[in-house]
């Protein structure tokens, strides 16, 4: 069983949770368990932690990257 942690700023509809579970099981060819976490400070977007893989597409992370680029290039 593969644990998938889903972080978002707002609570996801059950249809979206189901869609994520199906897509993960399809990609990883194994059963998946979704753990949903709501964190308003991520602002928007979504972050997935599938086993040891992490995919952070939250606005918080995007802004963090922009800040780093500004720090380096200014």
């Amino acid at each position: 069983m593969l644990t998938v942690q889903v972080i978002t700023a707002v609570k996801l509809p059950s249809a979206t949770i189901t869609k994520i579970k199906e897509r993960v099981e399809d990609k990883y060819k194994t059963d998946a368990q979704i753990v949903e976490v709501v964190k308003p400070n991520v602002i928007g977007g979504i972050s997935l932690t599938i086993g040891s893989d992490q995919f952070d597409s939250t606005l918080k992370n995007k802004l963090f990257k922009i800040k780093n680029q500004l720090d380096q290039n200014l």
Partner: protein, 161 residues
């Protein structure tokens, strides 16, 4: 008047005795005294000459000592001037070097402080940009827009897997 031989002989003998006595008791001592005096005069002259020579020698030594002293004094003054000049050059060079070090250090400190302030300003600026963006996004994202954004990001994530 007749000539009396005996009387003449007697007179001759008498005269000879007187001459002999005078020679023995008067002439020789006087000559001796004169010789001694002459000898004393000669010795006095010699001593005087010797004294003059010694005085000249002393005068020469004195002049030589004065000249040597003046020469040494001149050498000491010249040497002191050279040393003072060298010392002045050394002190000037040291001062220049110290000034150069101070200027270099001040410049480095200034550059370091400038970089520090610039870095701080950049960091504050980027933080301000992020903070403003966060605030704007939080206020502008509706539930529908949240969902649209999540759907879009999910597609990107699954394409990447």
């Amino acid at each position: 008047m007749e000539i009396q031989i005996q009387q003449i002989i007697f007179q001759l003998i008498n005269f000879s005795v007187v001459v002999g006595a005078l020679t023995y008791f008067l002439y020789k001592p006087i000559i001796k005294i004169l010789e001694e005096r002459a000898d004393k005069i000669v010795k006095g002259q010699q001593a005087a000459e010797k004294s003059i020579q010694e005085a000249d020698k002393i005068e020469e030594l004195k002049e030589k000592a004065i000249k040597d002293g003046q020469k040494q004094a001149s050498e000491i003054i010249a040497d002191a001037k050279i040393k003072a000049k060298d010392q002045a050059i050394i002190i000037t060079n040291q001062a220049k070097e110290e000034a150069s070090h101070i200027i270099t250090k001040m410049k480095a400190d200034f550059d370091q402080e400038k970089q520090k302030q610039l870095k701080l300003m950049k960091s504050q600026f980027s933080q301000a940009v992020v903070s403003v963006s966060e605030k704007v996004l939080m206020e502008s994202l509706t539930e529908k827009k949240h969902q649209q954004l999540i759907d879009k990001e999910l597609e990107s994530i699954f394409k990447a897997i």
